[in-house]
């Protein structure tokens, strides 16, 4: 155990640095974080390559303005769902925060996950904390140059591959790869790959936890979701104080010392460079590195683990923990309701939608047989993953005839088609505008139908009509009769 103290003492000389060199730790929370980071990175890099039903499982096809997400196709008209999803995500974050503090920051935030990846690359090229500090202080040498170069090559490669994968969620990734191989990428694809790559490189390679400290909005307002029962990382001051180094074999309690041997390993392990023993600070991203560091020391000292541990303010004060409390219940209820609503809305969403616009040039036209014709421009939006042929009909207009060219309008999967629709009927008992409903029905699936409201303008039955009307002025003139 004296080796721990000695090792720390030699390291302490290097602590006053301009930059944070977090000490590498091992332990159960480090393992958990590695599992979380690996799975999340695996999902990000892997999912782009999954194909389903002829297209990428997740593809935000911006050039075509179509989003494919797990077999569902969304068009810009479905923007509502995306908004809903973002609200759901935000609320989940609030809920988790109220319950378990900054779990998101420590385990799942992309900033943390990519920083972990970049730190790992740094470690395999430049070595552990003390080696890196020494290397940075040392004059340039072949060893230093090649280690730094190797690190940069790995960093830049990972950053560029991240940029490539990111763009691969907006442009089909297989196509993008082929373009890159043939050096034939579009200017904007190239630009975004480099842009996102540079952002990854800067954020994960250099800014790291400074992003959390200085730039992250969540870090500033997460405390609003906290209460006495929120899971936090805490130093047990009652047990630890008074801290101090101690000789081997002496009864430290007899000396009046607490369990903290003041080895500062928890401070060295901290990526944000804070001292957890000063209490909870907003810089703490709850990565639990200090817990692992302290536990390893406690094990060596043969003290009980948990001098630094996950706990709650209430538990530290000796009160019983409460998971169910108004805050978590309310967040949970709202979250549950929104989630159920979201699933219902997604599964019951209209796969067909129509927009009807009246022809602006003519209010109505009188046909040779005395019938009155109105023309509409109809946009049919087919969000299904299959093509359909649509037939049109009209409701709330007696004896209406509907003509479209062609009669069956073909709309490919996840596309929008426009068609001119001519609706005619005998003059109505009272002239002017009437509310009608225009219905598009898929010929192969009658349950796929969309209803749109429209106005139908007509002459009155008894109106004097000697000529057709081509504009609004004529319409008013005729109304006066």
């Amino acid at each position: 155990m004296s080796s721990v103290v000695e090792h720390v003492a030699s390291d302490a000389l290097y602590v006053a640095q301009q930059k944070v060199y977090p000490r590498e730790v091992t332990g159960r929370f480090r393992r958990l974080r590695t599992i979380a980071a690996t799975s999340l990175l695996g999902i990000f890099y892997g999912m782009a390559w999954l194909q389903w039903q002829g297209h990428q499982v997740v593809l935000f096809d911006l050039p075509a303005r179509k989003f494919y997400i797990f077999g569902l196709t969304f068009l810009p008209q479905d923007f509502f769902f995306l908004t809903w999803l973002l609200i759901l995500a935000a609320l989940s974050l609030f809920f988790v925060t109220a319950l378990a503090g900054r779990l998101w920051c420590g385990y799942a935030c992309p900033q943390t996950v990519w920083t972990d990846a970049f730190v790992w690359l740094e470690r395999i090229t430049e070595g552990k904390r003390a080696q890196r500090m020494k290397l940075d202080k040392a004059p340039w040498s072949v060893n230093k140059a090649w280690r730094k170069t190797a690190k940069q090559i790995l960093w830049i490669s990972l950053a560029l591959y991240t940029g490539f994968t990111f763009v691969g969620y907006f442009t089909p990734i297989r196509l993008l790869l082929a373009e890159i191989i043939h050096v034939d990428t579009g200017p904007w694809e190239t630009f975004w790959v480099l842009f996102y790559g540079a952002a990854t490189y800067g954020n994960a390679g250099y800014l790291r936890e400074q992003v959390c400290k200085y730039m992250c909005p969540y870090a500033r307002f997460q405390s609003a979701m906290f209460d006495k029962h929120t899971l936090i990382i805490t130093y047990d001051a009652d047990r630890g104080e008074p801290r101090g180094s101690r000789g081997r074999g002496l009864g430290y309690k007899a000396e009046g010392l607490g369990d903290c041997i003041d080895c500062t390993l928890c401070v060295q392990a901290c990526p944000t460079g804070i001292d957890i023993r000063k209490g909870l600070q907003y810089e703490c991203i709850a990565c639990a590195a200090c817990i692992d560091a302290c536990d390893s020391v406690m094990d060596k000292m043969k003290y009980q683990r948990g001098l630094v541990r996950y706990s709650t303010q209430a538990a530290v004060e000796g009160n019983a923990p409460h998971v169910l409390r108004p805050r978590t219940l309310i967040y949970g209820l709202i979250l549950g309701a929104l989630f159920v609503g979201f699933v219902y809305a997604i599964t019951h969403r209209d796969l067909v939608q129509t927009d009807v616009l009246r022809d602006r040039n003519a209010l109505y036209r009188e046909l040779d047989d005395g019938r009155i014709e109105n023309v509409y421009a109809v946009r049919v939006i087919n969000k299904d993953d299959r093509p359909h042929d649509f037939r049109f009909s009209v409701e709330q207009l007696p004896n209406a005839q509907v003509e479209s060219d062609p009669v069956l309008v073909h709309v490919a999967a996840a596309t929008v088609a426009s068609v001119a629709l001519r609706v005619s009927a005998a003059p109505l008992a009272n002239g002017g505008g009437h509310d009608i409903r225009i219905i598009a029905t898929a010929s192969d699936a009658p349950q796929l139908r969309a209803v749109s409201k429209a106005r139908f303008f007509s002459l009155a039955v008894d109106a004097e009509h000697t000529r057709g009307s081509d504009d609004f002025g004529d319409f008013h003139e005729q109304r006066r009769h």
């Binding site: 944070v20 730039m215 804070i274 001292d275």
Partner: protein, 102 residues
């Protein structure tokens, strides 16, 4: 005088550096949301049609990028002005005893 505790804590960013980082980042987030909202409702191709295809308007992908950077610029201008005014107000209105805002 640096105490041992100061030596242990990470070095603080300068105010200017923090301002630049916060302005860049917060305006970036807002620009992302603004771009998403704007282009969810407006198709650049329809927009180009409406403007009679001006030469400076690029294709769809280019328009998204142009829109994004325009939003970023606008948001960053507002954020930079805000940061500047908050910083300077602190100097101008501080009492002889020190800073009255903190």
């Amino acid at each position: 005088m640096a105490t041992p505790e100061d030596e242990l804590s990470a070095v603080q960013w300068s105010r200017l550096r923090e301002d630049i980082a916060v302005v860049t980042w917060s305006s970036f987030l807002v620009a992302c949301i603004a771009t998403m909202l704007f282009f969810a409702f407006i198709d650049p191709i329809v927009l180009a049609d409406a403007l009679n295809h001006p030469g400076w308007l690029p294709n769809r992908m280019g328009s998204y990028a142009l829109g994004f950077f325009l939003f970023w610029l606008i948001a960053a201008s507002a954020a930079a002005l805000t940061a500047y005014m908050l910083d300077t107000s602190r100097e101008h209105f501080s009492t002889p005893q020190g800073n009255n805002r903190e």
